[in-house]
Symmetry: C2
Subunit: 203 residues, 2 copies
DNA sequence: ACCTTGTGAGACGTAGTGTCTCAAACTATA
DNA sequence: TATAGTTTGAGACACTACGTCTCACAAGGT
């Protein structure tokens, strides 16, 4: 919609968007997150978002015609750009990554949003794509840890990463989302030691 | 609402409810399931259900005032009353139970309904309770298998069942619901052998 | 100062919601 | 079969929400 191409001042943070648009976007992002955390995605309507954000209803429709656009927008900048360095030991790397995942899932106010996403991704291809991306970024650390271990020869080259990631991260999701049980340290430790025992005995 | 207590003919299936009510209940159950599978719980409104079931809108409101009541009703009879007998070997029992879970999650038209449930259970205590019950019944087989193994001395008496169940079933949920990847046999086999290796080496 | 563009307020028709009433149909029993 | 007690379906009703549109105004860029 914005046809402004030339960037005159390579400004600090925001892109070459109209400041008014940037304001709207930010306000809506915050509003959607608040609404989702308070009452679930079901409570997110253009009407509600406009009220919560203190902006006009028409403005919300202009930028995000569909309801799911609002959710996608709220999730848009949830990239986890964490710089990764291996400790040289698979067990240590996994522990660190799983604990990071544990922290994220235990405390992050984002979990409700992800659950809202899950519930809809089953029927909405666009949302499913976003979910896949978020999942990939959330488990990227685990994947890197395993890849590094393969390079070191600590794991066989044909080790199935996806399966392993599912076996490591799956139990966390199960506990948090399905069983509504706490993700305590003992639980995470058991997952790690179980897996390490398994690959070390087979080696 | 029905004050009919004395049961004259101990009839075959239905309780002592008015046949008209039984018809309504059944029709709504079917309609809700169809709608959820077709377009998700979001598509389930009293209006839609009435149309789909071919009954009056007011009737739907009478029986299920809230929208979630419709979901709960559709999930009400999903008990899995499967009679369980141990094969005498933990690995065999687990394989059977996990494969059952795999089949259920791969093919059952119920999975969409469960996902609809998950998405809302985070904010609705009543739904959360139902979800917990369904989860318990779905993993009852696994639990029985593990309990039997403890009785046989195949597992230590202080073995944490909830943790183990999360580690066995969690990866399946992860694959099916989050990763949208197929639950192939190789995957299930890896989960089982991994776990069996782990407990057998520690014994 | 100028022109451009996003915004907010509100009008508008449409569609869905939740409640209510009432005649008709159904059920169990005498 | 007749009768009394229930459930149902159809529709009326006020209300809210939806999605689109217009237009004056404010805020942005140059």
């Amino acid at each position: 919609m914005s046809h402004r191409r030339p960037v005159h001042h390579p400004t600090t943070s925001s892109d070459d968007v109209d400041p008014r648009v940037a304001r709207t976007r930010q306000a809506v992002r915050v509003a959607v997150r608040r609404l989702v955390q308070r009452a679930g995605f079901e409570a997110v309507s253009h009407q509600q978002v406009a009220t919560e954000a203190g902006i006009g209803r028409a403005t919300v429709y202009r930028h995000w015609p569909k309801r799911t656009d609002l959710l996608l927008h709220a999730l848009a900048d949830v990239e986890a750009p964490h710089d990764w360095r291996s400790s040289g030991d698979l067990a240590t790397d996994l522990a660190r990554e799983l604990e990071r995942l544990q922290r994220t899932m235990s405390s992050s106010p984002l979990v409700p949003e992800l659950i809202a996403l899950i519930g809809r991704a089953e029927w909405n291809p666009e949302l499913r794509e976003t979910q896949t991306e978020l999942l990939a970024s959330g488990t990227a650390g685990l994947r890197r840890a395993l890849e590094t271990a393969i390079e070191r020869g600590e794991l066989p080259a044909d080790h199935d990463l996806d399966t392993t990631i599912a076996r490591l991260a799956g139990p966390l999701f199960y506990r948090r989302v399905l069983a509504h049980a706490p993700l305590d340290d003992a639980f995470v430790t058991k997952i790690i030691t179980g897996y390490i025992d398994e690959v070390s005995t087979s080696a």
